[in-house]
Amino acid sequence: MSAATLAAEQVALTIGQQADKTYAVVTRGLTKRFGKRLAVDGLDLAIPAGSISGFVGQNGAGKTTTIRMLLGLIRPTAGSGTVLGQALGHARAYLARVGALIEGPTFYPTLSGRENLVVLARLGGVENRKVDEVLERVGLGPRGLDPFRTYSLGMRQRLGIAAALLPDPELLVLDEPTNGLDPHGIAEIRAMLRSFADEGMTVFVSSHLLAEIQQVCEHLVVIDAGRLLFQGGVEELLAARAPELVVRTECGEDARRLLLLVRGTGRTVQIVGERAGTTLEIAADCSWAGDLNRLAMSEGITLVHLSERRSTLEEAFFEITGGCAKEGASREARVRKGLVDPALCAKDEVEQVAGP
């Protein structure tokens, strides 16, 4: 180990000790290169202790590589960090307090669920009674003696979570715990995650299901191509995106007239592709709804629908990732979803993405 690396680890350790109570995970410039491919590029993470943090990014964004580096399975090419106040390079110092489910549940198919957990419990010096406790906790108690190969995907995911709970972890790292689950299974996992956080665990969960992340997480990390795009509160991310008033008129002609009227007030407005061009999206919050209604009435336009719409995490995600790596991705995604009529309002859409 070079002197520079040692120094970086020392600094990281000091930061980690100071931030131990505030952040469960801190990284500085965490980088991993596989040959010519840069999988993780200078990642600066700060995962608040006691929070449920979502970790999102497209396939191949570097989420699993990052998680593996945090768990000591992959050596970082550069960078430093701490997990639970201990330097990243010394996984043995903190892994006894960390539970993890990495890239789906993998167990020995011919062993029962319980035996699989006993293998891990014995290896980690965990008592056998804890095995039964975690099996009950994830609802696998009655099926614990069945071979793993007979488990459904949902049961396998739950066994993976049970394995992660074995050491009574302070930090729980779950990589795609809802992968392949039906809505009922997803809701169960969601409830579980909340209960873990209620007990004071820090939960760091990666998922493709952005709606799930929005429902369960208070903190969010977004990465793309190995680089950090956003880190902070979910509400903070959504609040940064201006709300929209969604208005529907009786006919397309009224919609086009209203478009010109609203533009006259200096607001960004667009006709979107829903309902034959009668729907408008206006960059304004509900406090302007009364004025809008009066404006429409004064011109004899009847509004058949008026509501405020806030950005979803999915939209925010598309905007963040599209804005960084692929210029038109956001617009394309929204067009694909039928939210935007590209022929009518391409210019307005770009303006809206850019923000007022």
């Binding site: 892994l95 890239e103 993998t106 167990f107 035996e115 293998v119 394995a163 050491p167």
Partner: protein, 260 residues
């Protein structure tokens, strides 16, 4: 390391693995014992033929056991390669390393468990083959008085020890290939190809290579030494090979990223 050892033994207690491995090893030793005694002749046609008179000596009981070295080695090699390569192929290694991040400790405990499992199998196989040997001796009219003498028991103990050393050697080669190749199928295929046909061809084609080829040396150890490779020399050479290979494997295993 004790935790890793105990943890591995929980896996080794699987009924299918137990019956499969112990059954295969017992079958191999039993088969060679029966074939050896059944093939003994009264008057030798050529040099090297085993005679009934030779079987009646104190070392007669262990003749069949000693002949099972290569086949037993192939079975042991495959079991060990499957145990180690399978952890990579199934993706279970990452779970183990999260619970035991000291990779050398984890690997050491696992290795010890596999070796004790195989030694147990060799002992069971030997006991079964002893029973078979007495039955076969009765059928072939081989006097067994010397077998149960003190010298006979000592010879049996030495044969069992030699076979256990040879089995462990083959198993360690299996573990090494399992870890380096990260796949049980590739490790078994490559290992068996090297240890059986390739080494046999090389031995036949190039005189003297029996002293340097690991599979041939391990076979010689199982037989208590051979004309081409005396026991002591074979043991020293194999030990040197294995020590070097284990050190390299450990280094690779400790430093390599776990992406499976």
């Amino acid at each position: 390391m004790l935790r890793a050892f105990e943890s591995e033994w929980i896996k080794m207690r699987r009924r299918r693995l137990w019956f499969g491995s112990y059954g295969a090893i017992t079958g191999v030793v039993l088969l060679t014992t029966i074939v050896t005694i059944a093939g003994a002749i009264h008057r030798p046609d050529r040099q090297g033929d085993l005679t009934i008179a030779q079987l009646a000596h104190a070392s007669g009981l262990s003749q069949g056991i000693a002949q099972s070295g290569v086949l037993l080695g192939a079975v042991s090699f495959s079991i060990a390669a499957a145990q180690f390569g399978g952890e990579f192929a199934h993706g279970t290694l990452r779970n183990l390393l999260v619970r035991q991040p000291r990779r050398t400790v984890m690997m050491g405990g696992k290795c010890l468990a596999v070796l004790t499992f195989l030694i147990g199998a060799v002992v069971v196989a030997t006991i079964v083959s002893i029973c078979a040997a007495f039955a076969m001796a009765h059928l072939r009219g081989v006097p067994t008085g010397a077998w149960t003498s003190g010298d006979g028991m000592a010879q049996l103990g030495i044969a069992l020890g030699d076979l256990a050393i040879s089995t462990c050697g083959f198993a360690i080669v299996g573990m090494i290939l399992g870890v380096l190749l990260r796949s049980s199928v590739i490790a078994i295929a490559a290992g068996l190809a090297l240890l059986l046909p390739i080494e046999t061809i090389l031995t036949d084609a190039i005189p003297g290579t029996v002293r340097w080829l690991p599979g041939q040396l391990l076979e010689a150890i199982a037989q208590g030494g051979s004309s081409g490779a005396p026991f002591g020399a074979a043991l020293i050479t194999v030990s040197a090979y294995l020590a070097g290979l284990v050190a390299i494997t450990m280094l690779v295993f400790v430093r390599r990223d776990v992406t499976a």
